[in-house]
């Protein structure tokens, strides 16, 4: 695989990821607004999100019985996953090129990202 080819695939991957995330967030957002009552949103004081909105695994599990906020959070997760997917693809591409220095470099970045996304609430 040539570097030019890698550039093209990465570009497409980023585009598709952002558009998919924006579409899911829009659907969840429309649903949220449709069901929203008169109550004022409370962001003045920090309370933290409930546990089911705090980890990727919890959000994905609750998609079986979706609520608007779960759908939005899933869209945001797709967005966060987009650069991660780019790193995973780079790892494969450097592997195919037998560029072992960059396989190691990419693995380090991937480990840091996994550590962050596996963080427990």
């Amino acid at each position: 695989m040539t570097d030019e080819r890698i550039d093209k695939v990465i570009g497409t991957l980023l585009q598709v990821g952002v558009l998919a995330a924006a579409a899911v967030v829009s659907v969840g957002g429309a649903w949220l607004l449709a069901g929203a009552g008169r109550g004022a949103p409370a962001y003045r004081q920090f309370h933290g999100e409930p546990p089911d909105l705090r980890s990727p695994a919890a959000v994905v599990v609750r998609l079986i019985h979706p609520r608007p906020k779960i759908v939005i959070q899933f869209g945001l997760l797709l967005l966060i996953a987009t650069p991660v997917a780019r790193v995973v693809f780079s790892l494969a591409a450097f592997g195919v090129q037998r560029d072992w220095t960059y396989v190691v470099i990419t693995l380090i970045v991937l480990l840091v990202l996994s550590y962050s996304l596996a963080a427990q609430p």
Binding site: D3, D7, K8, I10, G11, T12, L14, Q15, G17, V18, A22, V25, G28, G29, L32, L33, A36, G37, G39, A40, P41, Y43, R44, Q45, F46, H47, G48, E49, P50, L53, R54, S55, P56, K69, I70, I72, Q73, L76, L79, I80, A81, T82, P83, V84, R86, V87, S90, D99, T101, Y102, I105, T106, I108, V109, V112, L113, S116, L117, A119, P121
Partner: protein, 279 residues
């Protein structure tokens, strides 16, 4: 104010921030947080959570086009992402320890710096001797010019790497892309051509932000009701801005935007010291 009205206002503010941010190259995320906290009284942690997520959307959207055209240097980006992701993790952990007032003051200082930076305009990229480390890591590259590919060397790899760690810390700490620091690290410290520096910075911002996003998520900073209008607004605004960028003169706009940022910065610092933001 009910939820629909609040979301509408947040969307409009974010769209404006994304629009001006992409026209001026300063990025939209950097003004979303002060706008939300100062104008709408949103808690700083919710604001940086929403802003960080929107930063991933705009930077990845912009990076997609530049990567395809061959401007971004993927090896430089990948290598320096080691520094930015470790920095972002450190910054995101610090956010949970530092009081909101300290974050507000630091945010104000970073804003003031970006405003000053865009007033001053930019110095030419540094001319440096090639770095053997760059050769070993195959960082040297080329980008499309009017008359074929233009080749360039990369210098001072270690200095650039250290600066990138700092950029990562700021990004994780304040929920911003810290594109300005990334560009300085590549363009001024490593002597990488400006066009390559800005496009590679955009390319890196998403991964840097993703590294702190996991921590933010687990700490409950990412609220879907707030992040939804922020992310959609900033994305829409920056897409319109990018379209217009081709045929507008941005010098005057840059100055106006820098002045706005400067005002927000002073307000942020004042609120931080007077206890107006958080405890």
């Amino acid at each position: 104010m009910n939820v629909a009205a609040f979301s509408g206002i947040v969307f409009a503010l974010s769209a404006l921030a994304g629009f001006l941010g992409s026209l001026t190259g300063l990025g939209g995320g950097v003004v979303v947080t002060p706008a939300l906290t100062i104008l709408l009284g949103v808690d700083l942690h919710y604001a940086i959570g929403a802003s960080l997520v929107s930063v991933i959307a705009t930077s990845s959207g912009a990076a997609a086009a530049y990567v395809k055209e061959g401007y971004s240097n993927i090896r430089v980006g990948m290598f320096l992402e080691i520094a930015t992701t470790f920095g972002a993790l450190a910054g995101a952990h610090l956010t949970t320890v530092l009081p909101a007032s300290a974050l507000a003051v630091l945010f104000g200082v970073v804003l003031l710096y970006s405003a000053w930076h865009s007033f001053r305009g930019r110095k030419a990229s540094a001319q440096l001797p090639p770095d053997p480390l760059a050769a070993r890591l195959r960082l040297d590259g080329s980008y499309p010019g009017p008359a074929g590919a233009i080749r360039y060397h990369v210098g001072r790899v270690k200095a650039g790497f250290s600066l990138m760690f700092g950029a990562g810390v700021l990004s994780g700490l304040l929920g911003i892309g810290s594109g300005a620091v990334k560009v300085i690290a590549m363009d001024q410290a490593m002597g990488i051509p400006f066009k390559v520096s800005t496009t590679t910075s955009n390319f890196m911002i998403g991964v840097t932000a993703a590294a702190s996003a996991g921590i933010y998520l687990s700490r409950g900073y990412v609220d879907p009701g707030l992040a939804m209008p922020v992310m959609l607004g900033v994305l829409a605004g920056s897409m319109v801005g990018a379209r217009l960028l081709m045929h507008t003169r941005t010098r005057a706009l840059r100055l106006v935007f820098a002045a706005v940022i400067g005002l927000l910065a002073v307000e942020m610092i004042y609120n931080g010291f007077s206890g107006g933001i958080g405890g």
